[in-house]
């Protein structure tokens, strides 16, 4: 079990590294765009499409699973903290299964749409015919990764519930806060 968690974390860390580089790229592209527009009056015409079509989608979908590992997805945990251990494990299991259902659905429908766009070679209308399938494919990729993580969590939480003690997972206990 721990081996599976570790393998998943390796993949998540790799795609998160890509997303981190891309978020720095967004910062640099937009800064250059503004500078070029004001200094040389020649903005980067491709910046808008590149960022909104690919980069933002990549930053979000590639980080989805790793953010869940780090406990970044906030919940209202005030009640849950007061639950007895068995109820807390059951609540965690329900959360895992609900999340699993949501992300499987999004991955499935998103996958169909990406495949469709790939087969018909859809492109964005504009000066540069950006293909749409790479950004559409990020949806099943990112949602698939977080669904895998939720499946592992569900297994770990189900075992914890059955055995009456917490099975080790790699989920951080501390929560990240961003307000």
């Amino acid at each position: 079990m721990l081996g599976l968690f570790k393998a998943l974390a390796v993949i998540e860390r790799a795609v998160t590294a890509v997303a981190a580089v891309l978020s720095i790229a967004i910062m640099l592209i937009v800064t250059c765009d503004v500078a070029l527009r004001y200094v040389f009056n020649s903005p980067l015409t491709w910046a808008y499409d590149l960022i909104s079509l690919y980069l933002m989608a990549a930053v979000f979908f590639l980080v989805l699973g790793d953010a869940h590992r780090a406990g970044a997805h906030v919940g209202v945990d005030i009640l849950q903290q007061r639950f007895p251990p068995a109820a807390r494990r059951l609540a965690a299991l329900v959360t895992d299964l609900v999340g699993l259902a949501v992300f499987c659905l999004i991955a499935w429908f998103g996958g169909l749409r990406a495949l469709d766009a790939f087969e018909s070679a859809d492109v964005l209308a504009g000066a540069i015919p950006w293909p749409t399938w790479p950004s559409l494919a990020l949806v099943p990729l990112g949602c698939g990764l977080i669904a895998t993580r939720l499946l592992l969590h569900a297994a770990a939480d189900a075992i914890s519930l059955a055995r009456g003690r917490d099975v080790v997972t790699d989920v951080a206990r501390a929560q990240e806060n961003f307000e």
Binding site: M27, V59, A72, G99
Partner: protein, 430 residues
């Protein structure tokens, strides 16, 4: 009936601690399925997630979060408190006031209030305790001063409100400036009042030679530059808030690089944290969109507005009830969650009553500030308690006078909406 099922599932999931974005997406999906079957559900799940995150305006959030991380990395906040302490430390309650000023200054270059509270806990709290301040009072002023970052632009919270309520984000951010000043003065006045009642709570600091005071102003230069790179360009219409956020992140990166603390080892965790934060917020927005489609189908908002319209009460009673509701919600719920859950209902309602949504957005964020320091979960108090190793109850006690003062400040802004709306109305059209 379907509406009740959807809401029940949503609140049940929230109660057991399911992440807000997951809970909204799940209950929204269920509601859509019950209303329009698989066809409707698949149509929305196919488009909503990708179209939400590929909105160009959304880059404001990762960029503001990245800016906050880089500002933290640059260490500029530590110097900021030293500078304000040197200038106002001599007066009664001076270090407390210096904390409020440093909080405002930090808020002007950083949009995250927990980051601000953490930084102030590390710098101003030890300084006040060393000076012999009553620990409760010192911790209280640190927790409340941290919340200024939510209100003074750049502000992640105002951007989220703007995206949900479809209010001009640039005008909203500019609308936070004067209230930010008002709240800073409110905190300073509260500190002065507490120190006047019992001078032993807040001994004044040693005199600092003028030469040193001027030397400490060095730190203010880069801070003001960064403030103008973001808020200045938005106000003057030079660029959109979206572009300004990337400029701000870039400026903060330059500051961090100049401070010599920007190394690959320090940069990676900062960028990853910013990415996690943006991912969390985007997930909540996706959940809110899926739930929003379902919610719109139920006509709940229109029915509520029609019902409120038939009530024989003044609109001021309605707004007062809404604000009280926000303070109560804020005491046990995450602020972003409160925004996504309430804005789709409350903003159309207040618009129908003739209130300005821009004014309301800023007022909402001030009530959110209050929520950040209200027990049982006021986040900033926990941040301060963790960083300073003091009991949480003590911090909550210390914030109580500020809680009262904030309610007065909110009343002031309800009575004179111009405090919020005047500056945005002077903006250059973009």
């Amino acid at each position: 009936m379907i509406l009740a099922t959807g809401l029940l599932v949503l609140f049940a999931l929230l109660a057991i601690g399911t992440p807000v974005g997951f809970a909204m997406a799940a209950s929204g999906a269920l509601g859509l399925y019950l209303t329009g079957g698989l066809r409707m559900l698949s149509g929305i799940l196919q488009t909503a997630p990708l179209s939400t995150v590929s909105a160009y305006e959304l880059i404001t959030i990762p960029m503001f979060l990245l800016m906050a991380e880089l500002v933290l990395l640059s260490g500029i906040a530590d110097d900021l408190f030293r500078a304000t302490a040197a200038w106002v430390g001599r007066v009664r309650g001076g270090l407390g006031m210096a904390t409020a000023l440093a909080g405002a200054g930090f808020g002007a270059i950083c949009g995250s209030s927990t980051a601000s509270a953490a930084t102030l806990s590390a710098t101003s709290l030890p300084a006040m305790l060393k000076q012999g301040y009553e620990p409760r009072m010192a911790a209280g002023v640190v927790a409340i001063s941290g919340t200024l970052a939510m209100l003074i632009p750049p502000s992640v919270a105002l951007v989220i409100f703007g995206m949900l309520a479809e209010v001009n984000i640039g005008m909203l951010l500019i609308g936070g400036i004067i209230p930010g000043v008002v709240i800073t003065l409110t905190i300073m006045a509260t500190v002065w009042f507490l120190a006047w009642r019992d001078p032993s709570r807040a001994p004044s600091g040693p005199a600092v030679p003028l030469r040193e005071k001027i030397a400490l102003l060095r730190v203010v230069g880069p801070m003001i530059l960064l403030f103008f790179m973001v808020t200045g360009v938005i106000y003057s219409g030079v660029s959109t808030p979206t572009e300004a956020s990337a400029l701000g992140a870039f400026g903060a990166a330059v500051l961090a690089w100049r401070s010599g603390r920007l190394t690959p080892k320090s940069l990676v965790p900062s960028v990853v944290r910013a990415a996690h934060g943006s991912c969390m917020i985007a997930m909540i927005l996706i959940g809110a969109h899926v739930f929003g489609y379902f919610f719109a189908l139920t006509h709940f908002t229109q029915d509520l507005i029609a019902w409120v319209g038939t009530l024989q009460v003044s609109r001021w009673v309605v707004i007062a009830l809404i604000l009280v509701g926000y303070v109560i919600l804020g005491s046990f719920m995450d602020q972003i969650a409160i925004l996504v859950l309430t804005v789709p209902v409350v903003v159309p309602l207040i618009k129908s009553l003739g209130f300005d949504p821009l004014w309301f957005g800023v007022i909402k964020i001030v009530t959110a500030e209050v929520g950040m320091i209200t027990p049982p979960i006021g986040l900033n108090c926990f941040v301060v308690a963790r960083y300073s190793n003091r009991p949480v109850a003590e911090v909550f006690h210390g914030t109580f006078p500020h809680f009262v003062a904030h309610l007065l400040a909110i009343a002031l802004m309800v009575a004179w909406p111009e405090i919020i709306t005047w500056l945005p109305s002077r903006m250059q059209p973009n």
